[in-house]
Structure formats: C-alpha cells, structure tokens
Symmetry: C2
Subunit: 204 residues, 2 copies
DNA sequence: GTTTTCGTGATACGACCGTACCACGTTGTT
DNA sequence: AACAACGTGGTACGGTCGTATCACGAAAAC
C-alpha cells in the first residue's frame, strides 16, 4: 500500500479548507473543486475522503462546532484558575462574537449552516445544531450558581436572563458580521447587560 | 402592442414568487426556473422583466424590506391612535419575530440576504441592508421620547438599550426560526426586557 | 391598412457542478 | 517474488443553471 496516510488528519485539513473557502465566497458557493484547490489536493482526493458533498458539509459543521467548544474552554482557562461564574459566562459569550478574522470566518460559516438547516432537513437532523440548548442550560446553571454565591441581582430569573444573554450575543454577532457594528461596541453592550445581571461581589 | 401589462405589478408578482420559493428551498437554491414556475409564468417572462438574476434578487430584497416596513406601520396603527412610545417600540420589535408562516418566510429570506451580503459585495452595496441603522435611530428616538415623558427607567441609556433590544429581537428571531424556541417564549423574553426598561406609567 | 413596437413562447448554448470510472504507482502481506 | 490492497491522478458523463437567440401574435401609431 502507499504512504499509509492518517485519514482523520487529512479530513481535518480538507475541512479547514472548506471553512476558508466558505468564509471567502459564502457557504452556498463552495464547490468541491474549490475545496480541493484551497487544500492543495486534487478533486479526487476530496471525493476519496468524503464520498459525497453532503458528507463534506456535515464534517465541516462538526469540525466547526468542535472548534468553537475548544475556543470557549481555552478562553475560560485563560481567565485564570477557579474563575467565578461571571467570568465563565462572559468568556462564553465573548467567544461567540466575531472579533478577529478567524472568529469572523467561524461565525459566518456557522450561521450559514444554521440558516441552511432551516430548509435542508438532512442538515437539520445533525446533532451539532440542536446543541445550543446545551449552551442555554450551561448559562442557566452558571447564573444559579452565581445566585447561591450572592452575586446575582435579586430580581433576576436565571433562565430568562440566560436566554436573553445568548440571544443578545447572537444578534450582536451577526450585526458585527454585517458591518453594522464594531466589535468594541458589541462587547460594550454585552458587558453592560452583564453588569445589570451580576451584582458587585462583596469586597473581601 | 400586446395587452399593455403593468410592469411594476408583474414584477411584484414575480418577486413574491421568489420569496415563496426561497422560503421553501432556501435562497441559495432558488433558480429562475423555480421562480417562473411558482409565479405560473414562463422562464422567458422572468428574464424579460428582470434581465439578469442579480436584478431579480435585488428587487426581491427591496420588496422584502418594503413589506417589512409596511408590516411595522400596520402593527403600530393597529395599536390604536396616538400610541405611546412603548407601544410603538413593542410593535416594531414584535414584527421582527417570526410568528406565523408569512413572517417566518419574511425573516428567513431577509436573514439569508443579510448573510449573503457579507460575501457578495454587489449585494452589500444595496442600501436596503445598510438601513438597520435607521431602526436603531428610530428606537433610540422613541426611548428618549419616553424618557421625557417620565416613562423610562432612570438609569437607562437610550442608545444602548435600543441596540440591546434590536439585537435581542434579531437573536430571538433566528432561534425561533431554527426551532430552538417557541414564538411565545421569545415574545415573553422580549417583553420582560421591555418591562425592565420602561417604567410603569403614572395612574391618571 | 400597414408598420412598428411590445409581450410572450420555445429552444439552444456554454459553463459549471457533483459524481463515477479507469489507470497506475506504492507499499504492505504471503 | 508475486500478489493484493491502498492512495492518488486524470478524465468523462449527465444534469442544471443563467443567458442568449429566434420566432410569432397582438395592439398601438401613422
């Protein structure tokens, strides 16, 4: 047999190329030939590792969401050890804002997938898009945790505020993406909302 | 000459067909033949009234935004004569939530356009997508108007709250679209936020 | 009544896309 | 050494899409 290549690594490489092209030309305009050229391989190779285009798109989506999860944990970890609930929530929300070029690509393509799933049932059946409920649960849990620590505004309902924060972050994200708002302005608005929900911690 | 048809009306009809098809199959999958079939005319007709596909898409976008404006004013007018600022703001925001089938189509296609404009500069140059700033100004103005009437929470900044409300409505809208949230839940969250910003009016 | 212009239909063309097929070298296995 | 499985390249096929072309009837203009 030939070189005995690592298929998973190769697939990931091609997946990255897919995201790059999608960020540049739009997910709808991505062809297998584009992906092959971006990855520097032949069209046949893309066919070989993902038999069909649908497979390629599905794998790209999976790769994207996994990458997002890694970004969140990396950001949380960068916030220091044993971070408070607010720090974690803030890291989670800020990650979903397109600030640099890479996160822009991330968000554009991920939003394209979500929108595509509305009219494409094969995509809608994928588990990676039904997961945002998990984010809601996570934030709700963090807010309740904050409440027990006395860090939450007294009249705040955890789940309602969690939903609000996530929807707000998503809305701000797309407005940044379309150029209607600067990343700085978006983070400021998000932080303002966080300041409302979280109470100042007692000075020790 | 033949029947001397009203071109504008015909164009609007075809534009409606475009939106219908886009809502069913996704904007990316819309072909001129689909639009023609949906409108019950021949492909040649679509070509005749809109020379190119780009023209067709542009006109569809324009038609969509105009329809949205009409929806808002209709909803405001339905709220009774001489409505207060909160009523107007609430009507504006609620209109942007996909509740029935028609507004679902509205929002799906409009969001698709917005996302398309990120990677397509010909679409991005259209004025109808740069306008949401106008919505921000409008809501800001209404909030300031409310402040002067003593209807606003004292610590609220008009523009920040306007941006928050619009981004929140957009985020909630897409989550309703993707089926992660019911329309009822979304309106409840939105109203909760409005209750926070607006103060109870003095009993007369 | 002739001519010209407008609206409409049918069909064709070139390009691109996803997929399938065929061929060949390479590297393990026996 | 012989053979089989794997990875890779090149290329062709069927379909669809946007667009262009040809043709024809119907009404307004003169």
């Amino acid at each position: 047999m030939p070189k005995r290549v690592d298929h998973d690594e190769r697939r990931a490489e091609i997946g990255r190329a897919l995201v790059q092209v999608a960020a540049r030309k739009g997910l709808h305009a991505v062809g297998m030939r584009d992906v092959a050229a971006e990855a520097g391989v032949s069209l046949r190779l893309v066919q070989y590792y993902f038999h069909t285009k649908e497979n390629l798109l599905l794998h790209g989506l999976q790769q994207l969401t996994e990458g997002f999860g890694e970004r969140v944990t990396a950001r949380v970890r960068a916030a220091g050890e044993n971070p408070g609930p607010r720090t974690v929530v803030e890291a989670l929300l800020m990650t979903s804002l397109p600030t640099d070029e890479e996160s822009r690509a991330f968000h554009l393509v991920l939003t394209s997938y979500a929108l595509l799933a509305v009219t494409d049932e094969a995509l809608a059946a994928q588990p990676y898009l039904q997961r945002p409920d998990a984010a809601e649960d996570a934030v709700t849990g963090l807010l309740e945790q904050a409440r027990e620590a006395g860090l939450l505004a007294p009249d705040a309902d955890a789940r309602t505020e969690a939903v609000t924060l996530l929807a707000l972050a998503a809305g701000l994200g797309t407005s940044v993406l379309t150029g209607q708002r600067t990343p700085e302005s978006a983070t400021a608005v998000l932080r303002h909302q966080l300041n409302r929900i979280f109470r100042e911690p007692k000075a020790s």
